[in-house]
Assembly symmetry: C2
Homo-oligomer: 315 residues x 2
C-alpha cells in the first residue's frame, strides 16, 4: 500500500525531516511539495525544501511557492528563534537556487487533485494558508482529495507558541478555520503526540553516524535541540512534522484518535489559534458525536521516531 | 489546625455536600455562607443553603444573599438541568423560609475580612460575581483574606458546560478575570481533579444507609447521578464543590498544583470562560514562572470523597 502525498511545508528543521521521510520511504509516493510561510519566509522555505529533495535525489518532486503571510493580511511573523534565520539551524546552503514550478502552491494542489481524483493525501505541516487559498480558488477540492492530515493543534496538551495554541494553527487561525469548515475530514496530529515520541540524544548520534542525509539531519537538529533544552531541560526535539507524515502513511499508528467537533479560535483573546475540540467524550469512552468528522490524534504507538531515524541515517 | 472559611455557594447538589462538609468537619470553622446565582437563582441558592445548615444544626452560620446574575448585565442562565429546578434534584423543602443577613454577600465578606484580617479563607464554588463585587467595593480586600480557593476551571481536562469551559467560570468570565487580576493568590480546584475522585454507587449506598443528613444527601444525589450517567455512561457524580473545601482545609491533598499564569477568556469565541493557564512547564518539571501566583490543582490524592461520605453518613 503506497500513500500518495502532497506535502505542504514551511521548511523548518522538522519539516526537513518530514520531507526526507516522505521522499525516502518506500511506502510513500511523494507527489509534490508546496511551500508556505511560517517557520521562515516562503522563499527560504522553498529553497530549503528543494535543497533537501535534491540531497535525497528527488529532483523529480515538483516544488511550488505559496503564501507569504497570513490570510488576514497581518504582517507575517516567523519562528526563526526556533529554526534559525535560514530555517535549518544555521546549516542551510544559502547559495542554493531552487527550481520552482510556474504554478503557485494552490494552483498545483488543484491541478493534481483533478489529475488524480480520490488518490492524493494532503499533508499540511505549516500554517494552513495555502490549503485555505486552494479551497477559496476551488471549493470542490475536498471532493477530490482522499485524506487530509495536519500537523497542528494541541488538545489535552499545552500549546507551544502561546499557552493555548500550537504554532502552525496560531500563525493563521482564519485559514485553519476555513480548512476545518470545508467538506473533508481532517486528522490533526498535534502536540499531544509530537511532544511524546520525541527525538533524543541517541537519535542525534545515530543520524550523525549515518550517511550524507543522516549527517545533514544531525547538523540541522543541533540548534533545534538547544531550543528544546529551554523547553524541557534536556537536549531533545519534538518530531512534529514527520509524525504527521508517519500517521498519514500508516508508518505511525494512532492508538487514540477520537472523531470530535473541532473549531479554531479566531478571536483576539488568550486562546487565539487554539484548536478547540469537544473532548468531553473522554468521560464515556468516546461515543459517536453527531456531525463530528475531524480526528484528534491523542496517542500514537511509540517507535516511529526510532524507525524514522534508522531510515534517514541509513539513506 | 482549624481553617476558617467563608463559603460562597450557588446551592446546587454538590454545593449542599460542600456546605455540609464544611459545617460538620471538626477541622473547619464555617464562618459564613454567601450565596450567588449559577446552578440556580440566588434566592433558591440562599434557601437551599440555609436549609442544609439548619439540618446540620448550624443556624449560627450567617447566610447572605448576593448577585442575581453575571457582571456584564446579561440575563442569568441556570444549570437546572443538572441540579433540578429546586437545585436539590427535586428534593428541596420549597416551603422552607431562610433567615438571611441584612448585609449583602459582598458586604458580609468585607466586614468579616475587617473583623478577622489575615484569618479567613474564601472558598468560592459558584460563579465569581460576589467575589468580584466585593473586590469592586473594596479593592483592599486581598490584603485581609488569608487564602482564596475556587472550584472552577479545567486545565488539561475538557470543560463541562462547553467543550472549553467549566460552568462556574463560564457563567461569569468577566468576574473571574477580575478575581484573577486582584492581588491575591488563588488555588483553582477544577475538573482535572473533581472528575477523578468521583462519587460512585457505593458512596450513594453508604449515604442512604446513614443518618438524616446522609439520607438527604443520597436523595439529592439521585437525579444528579442520572445526569452524570449521560456524561460518563454510569451513575456517578463529580464531587466538585466539596473537593474545593477539602483542598482549602487540608482534608484533600493536592499532589500536583503548579503555580502558573492564569487568564480567563472573556471573548465571545469558542473558548469564552476557559480558565487559560500556561502549562508549558509540564515539559520541564514545572519550573518557577516569574510573576505567576495562582495554583492550578492538577492532581489530588484519592480518598477525599470516601472520607467525606463517611463524615456525612455518620453525622
Amino acid at each position: 500500500m503506497t500513500t500518495s502525498i502532497i506535502l505542504d511545508v514551511d521548511t523548518g528543521v522538522d519539516d526537513a525531516l518530514a520531507i526526507l521521510t516522505a521522499a525516502l520511504s518506500p511506502q510513500i509516493e511523494l507527489v509534490a511539495c508546496t511551500t508556505t510561510w511560517g517557520n521562515v519566509d516562503v522563499d527560504t522555505a522553498a529553497r530549503n525544501t528543494a535543497y533537501v529533495l535534491t540531497m535525497a535525489g528527488r529532483t523529480d518532486v515538483p516544488v511550488a511557492r505559496g503564501a507569504e503571510g497570513p490570510s488576514n493580511g497581518a504582517p507575517a511573523t516567523f519562528s526563526t528563534g526556533v529554526h534559525g534565520e535560514d530555517g535549518q539551524g544555521g546549516q542551510a546552503d544559502t547559495s542554493f537556487v531552487p527550481t520552482l514550478t510556474a504554478e503557485s502552491a494552490p494552483e498545483l494542489i488543484i491541478r493534481l487533485s483533478h489529475e488524480r481524483p480520490g488518490e492524493l493525501h494532503l499533508v499540511a505541516v505549516g500554517p494552513l494558508t495555502n490549503v485555505a487559498d486552494a479551497l477559496a480558488a476551488d471549493p470542490t477540492l475536498p471532493e477530490r482529495i482522499r485524506e487530509v492530515t495536519i500537523m497542528g493543534g494541541n488538545f489535552l496538551a499545552p500549546g507551544n507558541i502561546t499557552p493555548a495554541a500550537e504554532a502552525n494553527i496560531w500563525h493563521d487561525p482564519e485559514a485553519a478555520q476555513r480548512v476545518v469548515e470545508a467538506g473533508w475530514a481532517c486528522t490533526f496530529v498535534g502536540l499531544d503526540v509530537t511532544m511524546r515520541d520525541m527525538l533524543e540524544e541517541h537519535h542525534l548520534s545515530e543520524l550523525a553516524a549515518g550517511g550524507e542525509i543522516g549527517r545533514y539531519c544531525a547538523r540541522i537538529l543541533d540548534a533545534y535541540y538547544d531550543f528544546y533544552r529551554g523547553e524541557t531541560g534536556r537536549r531533545c526535539a519534538g518530531n512534529h512534522d514527520a509524525l504527521a507524515v508517519g500517521v498519514a502513511a500508516g508508518l505511525a499508528t494512532a492508538t487514540l484518535a477520537p472523531v470530535v467537533p473541532i473549531e479554531i479560535d479566531t478571536t483576539v483573546g488568550p486562546n487565539r489559534g487554539r484548536t478547540t475540540a469537544d473532548l468531553r467524550g473522554i468521560h464515556n469512552a468516546w461515543p459517536v458525536v453527531a456531525g463530528a468528522r475531524h480526528r484528534a490524534v491523542l496517542a500514537t504507538e511509540p517507535g516511529f521516531t526510532e524507525r524514522m531515524t534508522r531510515l534517514l541515517a541509513g539513506a
